[in-house]
Symmetry: C2
Subunit: 213 residues, 2 copies
Amino acid sequence: MARSAALSVIETDKKLSASAETLLDATAALLSQRSTFDVSLSEIAKRSGLNSALIKYYFGNKEGLFLALLERHARQEMDALKHLVEMPISADEKLKIHISGIINAYHRSPYLNRLIHFMIESAQPTSSGRVIEMFIKPMISVYESIINQGVTEGIFRRVDPALLYYSLVGSCDHIFHATYTIEPILHVARITDDLKRRYVAHVREIVLRGLAP
Amino acid sequence: MARSAALSVIETDKKLSASAETLLDATAALLSQRSTFDVSLSEIAKRSGLNSALIKYYFGNKEGLFLALLERHARQEMDALKHLVEMPISADEKLKIHISGIINAYHRSPYLNRLIHFMIESAQPTSSGRVIEMFIKPMISVYESIINQGVTEGIFRRVDPALLYYSLVGSCDHIFHATYTIEPILHVARITDDLKRRYVAHVREIVLRGLAP
């Protein structure tokens, strides 16, 4: 019940126009290339080929633009999560798919993890609250459902879904948060597909064994 | 051997004068009260009761001051880690103590986690490299030693110590990184001692079971 309420938040979002989508694509492309959020509205406009007045028209300001970008990610990711929960597979298979889903999302959009933190810590309380509603609460509801299923199937211990959220997402995101350490620590220039696969396997093993009764 | 080399970096640091220590205490106190690093040298001087010229004298600039604060933390934490590695107890007991050690360090110094990330991502490459040398490499060497001991004792699988570093530290630090989510998600105003204890127990169970052969 909690799950449906949280997930339905996502579905009420209005569809964006093609120009708004183009502006979000340009923002995503620019953020993927840098390690900070110091990107100007005129840079985004230039990259998109559109007038920067359109950013104000659609999103109000940079915070509104970032929030809309996160909302687009949330719609994709939460759709995927909803399908996952409804799949006729065991709870451990669901969690395995979810772990590679999170790590792949961070790998595809290297700014995603930092942007979620940035919006929660530094944005206006309304934006911060929105990020909590669109990402964190739906994920915890999904964890609750998967844990319940796993306990019923006799393959999981009962754990607090909110604590599992912090520990699991922290495990998945730390390697992306600390990209400057990759070269000195792991001796590769960036997170390659091979490293990503090894990390998915590592986190899956720890978490799945960690939840066994 | 790798471990001793990494740990010895810490021991060569020179002792700081009483005034320098006072300035670091004032910096730590101010950072504990805020969620950003926008703290001015004059605020730090005022809080310490010392002249701000002393900050320049001892540390050069704010980045030098922050780095010195992290070095002081590193000395304490790496001393504790060195003792832990040498204790005549089993590998799982060592890892349990270590997990509560990390979570307690973040709980005592709420800025510690953010400051490590900030210095790695936003500081000059020399500072960023220093943080990697003083925190991350010694920790991975310790993990290597504990994993080897656990494998010999038949209680751990062999896992990559660098990947364990990212997944374990990510698990421990995410709840502190996301302090603004605590109230809406966990329904307490801040990370209380009770919540901290529950989180330590949660992470310990996941990681210790996760490493079992």
